[in-house]
């Protein structure tokens, strides 16, 4: 009797202890499987640095083979990362740093560059059989010559430039100023942190600005789509538009244009005309247009970090607010990249191709590991409307506010913007593409608090187009 009791208790205790150990196994599984990536990538984990000393990190290369970042072996056997162009590619390429972590392409394609891609890491010891001494090279769509022209053209002003191919979405140049030198990231880290002008911010994809008049191209597209006005209709432009009892909208400089049709209105960038168009469309159609152009969608591409567009709450817009949206002002905030995509709608027959920086990833022996193939992102508008707006934009450069971007021998289409903001001086914008008959590049220039778009931004776009096409 007693004997049985003891055995029963022993079984209970054995069962209890086995349960404890099983719980432990579940917990260990959690650490080694679920929690694993987090622990591996923790900046305090010295393993990343230890393995990076064994494998030569791959280079980051532009479309014509120029190295934008490469690793060099020191005398002590360790590798140093070199960025030969210093500040010029800092926001695109980023930096690789054991202490601060990685940014830009260095972060996005880290597993390929470091040769420790996650797929083979899962194979445990077996991966050692295919052990390699070099990481993969990452080839970008960037054209380093064009990037340098753009970088120099911005001078010492703050702002951003994006150049992309509207036919496939390949980003050819992406400049953000002020910049920093990734070679000196350790030494200058405190200065960078303390600098008030956000040196690390990639203004091209993360800078949020009021678009100003460049957005009128989109309002024009909405007008054409909804058939609110014909191309022959004219608008009275006395220099102001009385929207309500307590709100009147003025032309820039309060100029009275008399009667304007749509083409002329875009050429002179008439605020009253586009405010009127926005009112005719109504807030629902204007909101639909923003959606149609993808402003509410994420671009599913990890090549860069993008700030989401700040759109007004369309349900609560007063007529005055709607007029402001119609001329790209109000609470609207958009990144230069999104303006480049909007421009590419008119340059590429109504279609936005997915923007990307990656061209291909290849091994040291030249074999291709991964290749980017062009992908359609959105079909925004009809070919016909895109063609009309393209012609109108060509007229802007030929006869309107964009004359400073005119180039003899190349048909340039464009639109200027002078965006009011919280500070005294407006932001200078220029969006454009060339050659207009068969566009090969879209150019977006923004200069923070630079002044008039036609005067300040258009000549910079001109320099870039000349350099690319001549």
């Amino acid at each position: 009797m007693h004997n049985n009791d003891i055995k029963k208790n022993i079984s209970k205790v054995a069962f209890f202890l086995f349960s404890l150990i099983l719980i432990l196994i579940v917990y260990i599984t959690y650490i080694q499987v679920v929690n694993s990536d987090e622990l591996v990538n923790n900046p305090l984990n010295k393993r990343t640095a230890a393995s990076s000393n064994k494998i030569q990190r791959g280079s980051i290369i532009d479309r014509s083979g120029n190295k934008l970042a490469y690793s060099e072996k020191n005398d002590d056997g360790h590798f140093t990362r070199v960025y030969p162009f210093n500040e010029k590619f800092a926001h695109v390429v980023g930096y690789e740093n054991a202490k601060l972590g990685n940014t830009g392409i260095e972060a996005v394609y880290n597993s390929y560059l470091s040769g420790t891609d996650n797929i083979s890491a899962k194979f445990g010891a077996i991966q050692k059989l295919i052990k390699k001494n070099n990481g993969y090279d990452v080839v970008l769509t960037i054209d380093s010559k064009l990037q340098q022209v753009a970088y120099d053209a911005l001078g010492n002003r703050n702002g951003a430039i994006i150049v992309l191919n509207p036919k496939n979405g390949a980003i050819l140049a992406m400049v953000s100023k002020p910049s920093f030198n990734p070679n000196l990231i350790n030494e200058s880290w405190t200065d960078i942190q303390n600098n008030s002008s956000a040196l690390l911010l990639n203004r091209a994809t993360q800078g949020l600005y009021p678009p100003g008049s460049i957005l009128k191209t989109m309002i024009l597209d909405a007008t054409l789509k909804e058939h609110k006005v014909t191309l022959q209709d004219t608008f009275d432009c006395p220099g102001y538009l009385k929207v309500s009892d307590d709100y009147t909208l003025y032309e820039s400089g309060k100029v009275a244009y008399g009667k304007l049709n749509l083409k002329e209105a875009l050429a002179v960038s008439s605020n009253t005309t586009f405010a009127t168009l926005a009112l005719k469309l109504g807030s629902v159609k204007v909101e639909d247009t923003f959606k149609r152009f993808g402003f509410d969608k994420k671009i599913e591409n990890e090549d860069f970090i993008e700030s989401p567009t700040v759109l007004p709450n369309f349900n609560e817009l007063s007529d005055g607010d709607l007029c402001q949206v119609g001329i790209g002002q109000g609470s609207l905030l958009i990144t230069p990249l999104r303006m480049a995509l909007m421009t590419s709608v008119f340059a590429n027959k109504g279609v936005i191709m997915k923007p990307h920086l990656l061209n291909e990833i290849r091994a040291v022996d030249g074999s291709i590991i991964k290749k980017y193939s062009a992908e359609k992102w959105l079909e925004v508008t009809s070919k016909e409307n895109a063609k009309i707006i393209s012609e109108f934009m060509e007229n802007v450069v030929e006869n309107g506010t964009g004359r400073n971007a005119r180039i003899s021998g190349i048909r340039v289409a464009g639109k200027t913007g002078t965006a009011e903001n919280a500070e005294e001086n407006p932001h200078a914008w220029f969006i454009g593409f060339a050659p207009a008959e068969d566009p090969e590049l879209v150019v977006v220039v923004i200069i923070e608090n630079g002044g008039g778009g036609g005067k300040i931004a258009a000549p910079i776009a001109k320099k870039i187009i000349v350099s690319a096409l001549k």
Partner: protein, 421 residues
């Protein structure tokens, strides 16, 4: 050759293959070729294994055929890891293994006469207590553990050996008094208060454990002793009240020490949030977590990881090194081997005719289970870290020999069972 012998032989061959292949891999990786001297040493150990196997089967043909092969598997993994982590210590650990095996065989011989030992339970208990006290009084700090006692050229950890004495004493004491005093109980509310004589050893061991805990800072051993005493009392008496009272004691003890003793507070705080001080107090546990995370499912492969980032990796943290280089599969495999040993231990206990024997076998199995649970939970941050060794894997002689004695005890009890049957 009977079937048990065949079974054991086959399993030992497999266990030895782990050893031979493991060491060869490390050599080819680190030296580029095979070291002949080390190979001879390896073969020496393998020969000893087979001699032991033959001797066991000759004199105790009905003993459990799984205990020795399982033990050898663990030692194979342990020696391989030590050779990979601290090659200088390999030879010394090999020596401990030789001595361990010898002591194992001797202990089987002695424990066959366990009935006689039981008659001297008070002497055994006294020896156990003296061993514990000696480490409390003469304890010297080596490598962060203050549980070492140095006598001349010898240094050892008496608390490791004390385990066995305490288990035997408790088993004999509890069973004997169970019959006499089992029915004398006083009620106190919902709890049935046990008679004082029944829980006297429990209180004594609790007191000793608290002393070890507070004076020596040996949290691991203290916890181990206390839990063994509680579980054995429960197994002998089947009264949940003991567990409740013990838990109460445990929580009061832990709470008071958390409030009044800094080193306890530090340990608990590290466990609660190691990321507060990842490069200071919590360095070791954080490095251990990094190692385990880097191992993923299949491990980095032996010699390909970086377990050397963990301080004291060859003793208390050897499990983290296994988890990194052999992955989740290796780590779970090691735990499963322990579970099989513990399972055999409890099975042997349940087959025993004699209650004292049954309780001893159960006590030993429970102590192995508690020990591996405590240390593995500690290095994985499941529980606060307590410095105790992982039997047969961690570097160290006291641990190796004690673990072998415990396996010897289980083996002796398994053999007896069959003789009577």
């Amino acid at each position: 050759m009977n079937s048990l012998e065949k079974k054991e032989e086959l399993l030992i061959i497999l266990a030895c293959l782990i050893f031979l292949i493991g060491i060869s891999i490390v050599q080819l990786q680190n030296l580029g070729n095979l070291n002949f001297t080390v190979l001879l040493q390896e073969l020496g150990l393998v020969v000893i294994y087979f001699i032991t196997h033959k001797v066991l089967r000759r004199y105790y043909p009905n003993g459990d055929p799984y205990l020795l092969p399982l033990t050898i598997s663990l030692i194979s993994i342990g020696l391989t890891m030590i050779y990979r982590l601290k090659p200088i210590l390999f030879l010394q650990q090999l020596k401990w293994t030789f001595i361990g095996i010898f002591v194992f065989t001797l202990s089987i011989y002695f424990f066959r006469k366990l009935n006689i030992f039981a008659n001297y339970k008070y002497i055994i208990g006294l020896i156990g207590v003296c061993l514990l006290l000696s480490s409390i009084i003469f304890g010297t700090d080596i490598g962060g553990h203050r549980s070492w006692v140095i006598i001349g050229a010898f240094r050892f950890q008496p608390s490791e050996f004390a385990k066995i004495f305490i288990v035997i004493f408790l088993a004999a004491y509890l069973i004997e008094h169970k019959v006499v005093l089992g029915l004398h109980t006083n009620k106190l509310g919902p709890l049935i208060m046990p008679s004082f004589r029944f829980i006297a050893p429990l209180i004594a061991i609790w007191g000793l454990a608290m002393m070890m805990f507070l004076l020596q800072r040996d949290l691991g051993s203290a916890l181990l002793f206390f839990c063994i005493a509680v579980l054995m009392t429960y197994m002998a008496n089947n009264n949940l009240s003991y567990l409740c009272i013990a838990s109460l004691f445990f929580f009061i003890g832990s709470f008071v020490s958390y409030l009044f003793f800094d080193h306890v507070k530090v340990r608990i705080d590290i466990w609660r949030n190691p990321w507060m001080d990842p490069n200071g107090q919590a360095y070791q546990i954080i490095q251990s977590l990094f190692a385990m995370g880097s191992g993923k499912i299949l491990g980095t492969g032996i010699t390909y990881g970086h377990p050397e980032f963990i301080p004291e990796v060859h003793t208390d943290f050897i499990f983290a090194a296994i988890a990194e280089e052999l992955g989740l599969l290796g780590a779970v495999a090691v735990i499963l081997i322990y579970m099989l040993i513990i399972y055999r231990g409890f099975k042997i206990s349940l087959m025993c005719e004699n209650e004292i024997d049954a309780l001893i076998a159960a006590g030993i199995s429970a102590s192995i289970a508690l020990q591996i649970f405590t240390i593995i939970a500690g290095v994985t941050k499941f529980l606060p870290l307590t410095g105790i060794t992982l039997p047969f894997l961690s570097y160290g002689g006291s641990s190796m020999i004690t673990s072998f004695i415990m396996i010897g005890l289980l083996f002796a009890l398994s053999e007896k069972r069959n003789n009577i049957a």
